[in-house]
Symmetry: C2
Subunit: 317 residues, 2 copies
């Protein structure tokens, strides 16, 4: 029989002073109780109870075990309770990664809302463009952009990232707003790409992908400094509208080529296929769904009206 059940039965017998009463209380047969005690006694090689058919009392050795078993079972209950809470109530530490490009979207604010709602959840937010292995590094959730290939991951498609061309209003006035993506070739390009990768801008023309080969004026591995350059009127930048919302809203940057935004680039949330996810992750996923749903409605009604749900971080210097 299970050791802990054994000890629990032992404790119950010691408290009640009766085998049959314990059997009734625990919902098992008297035979089981008798065999359980016998098993404990053979295991230790000691008699634990003085027994008559009418009275049951602890042996000297039984007294010793009784004291220990109480402490032990309390510890077990404590641990079980903690883990049950962890499984039930959202708490503990979540590890989330996102690429740099999403830092200035409303995603951090959404995570903030989440943390406000669940005060017992702590967050490890790892911002990196490196594609991390979720299992290897113990990452609970990864925000990714674009189609995701990994078969082992569960992927939720959250939001369409409508990429647009932006520049300072002064720049547009000086060089003219393009009417077609190919006209961007003649503009100063502020391009963003990962290390060693050639920057490419994707559009959609008449439902078909249109890819632009670039000779950028500036190429950076991080978008934030490019934004500063763009507001200075140094050129055209291509980025998700969502990542530039505060500058567009304030009028520092102005969109162009919005009808040619590619429709297949989305924000995804990826997590491991697991039999048992923590309550914290489960609840984060539902909040993500709600978040996506809210924007789906809003975007559906007024596509131009997206903005952060609360104050976003200031741009990097």
């Amino acid at each position: 029989m299970d050791s802990l059940d054994l000890i629990q039965i032992f404790r119950e017998v010691a408290r009640r002073g009766s085998f049959s009463a314990t059997a009734a209380a625990q919902g098992v047969s008297p035979a089981s109780v008798s065999k359980a005690i016998a098993q404990l006694e053979t295991r230790f090689g000691l008699r634990l109870f003085h027994r008559t058919t009418r009275k049951v009392s602890l042996t000297d050795a039984g007294q010793l075990l009784f004291e220990r078993s109480s402490a032990l079972l309390e510890l077990v209950d404590l641990a079980q309770g903690e883990l049950h809470e962890r499984a039930t109530r959202p708490s503990g530490r979540l590890t989330v990664t996102m690429p740099y490009g999403l830092v200035h979207t409303d995603l951090p604010a959404m995570l903030g809302d989440f943390l406000l709602r669940y005060p017992e959840v702590d967050l490890d937010l790892s911002v990196t463009d490196r594609v991390v292995g979720l299992a290897e590094e113990g990452v609970d959730l990864a925000f990714r952009v674009g189609p995701i290939e990994d078969q082992n991951l569960i992927v939720r498609r959250l939001l369409p990232l409508d990429f647009v061309a932006v520049a300072a209003p002064a720049y547009w006035r000086a060089h003219g707003k393009p009417a077609h993506p190919r006209e961007l070739c003649t503009h100063a390009q502020l391009a963003w790409s990962l290390h060693g990768q050639a920057p490419r801008w994707h559009f959609e023309v008449a439902g078909k992908p249109f890819e632009l080969a670039l000779q950028p004026r500036v190429n950076a591995t991080l978008a934030a400094p490019l934004i500063t350059l763009a507001t200075q009127g140094l050129g055209v930048m291509w980025a998700p509208r969502r990542a530039l919302a505060q500058w567009i809203d304030s009028g520092a940057l102005e969109c162009a080529l919005e009808p040619f935004s590619p429709s297949n680039v989305w924000l995804y949330a990826a997590y491991m296929q697991r039999r048992h996810n923590s309550a914290a992750l489960r609840v984060l996923l539902t909040q993500l769904d709600a978040f996506a749903e809210a924007f789906k409605c809003r975007d559906g009604q007024r596509p131009q009206d997206t903005q952060p749900s609360s104050g976003a971080a200031a741009p990097q210097a």
Copy 2:
């Protein structure tokens, strides 16, 4: 699988960071380890390890369980160690009963020797003439006199209690030493018997029991005061030689009718038939055997030479 084994395997995996290594260390198949962890995870509804085929690391929840499980397993080891010691090393409390009549024999001294040899054994010595139920009152060992009838008890025959008639030397000089038990009828009798029982003295004449009906000058439920009276020359007393050894040796009392001592009255040690006796009781039983064996040899060689192994208690006032 057994809960404690489960937790132990979990701890081992957490320490080693490998399923196969723990399987090898614990001497089980890798399949068992895998299933054990899976079982724990379903039990708590939480994932405990991040696993790749190459690396295994603790989850947030796993870390929590790891801390608890260490404390828990240490507690289990502690309790098991204590009980094993109790089963192996003589320690703990022994409960022993003996009748009043044996208090002035060398039995207490023997118990003293036993306690000296085993310092970790404590003793509850219950002196009573009541026949106690060993199981009911948690008595480990009972010293009894005479044939024992209880079927549930294991009985060891220790020593023959050679009953003799004694009186003060002055008394014998005044009234003459008897040559046959029946002559005691004419003597002043100092008799000892339990409450409500008629006192009877048993002898053996030519191999046949000879019982003497008494009209005692003094009848008491306890032998000790009678000894005082006997030394004062008030009459004849009938008791085990062993219980009177110090007075006989000092010359305060003098034996008579020694050839008629009954041969079927022995000192017995009775204990419960138990599957698992404590080490303390086991070792006490072997010491009793050695004690009996030593006296068997000594009595066989020099029947008159019995005396306490060390200083006995003073007689009651």
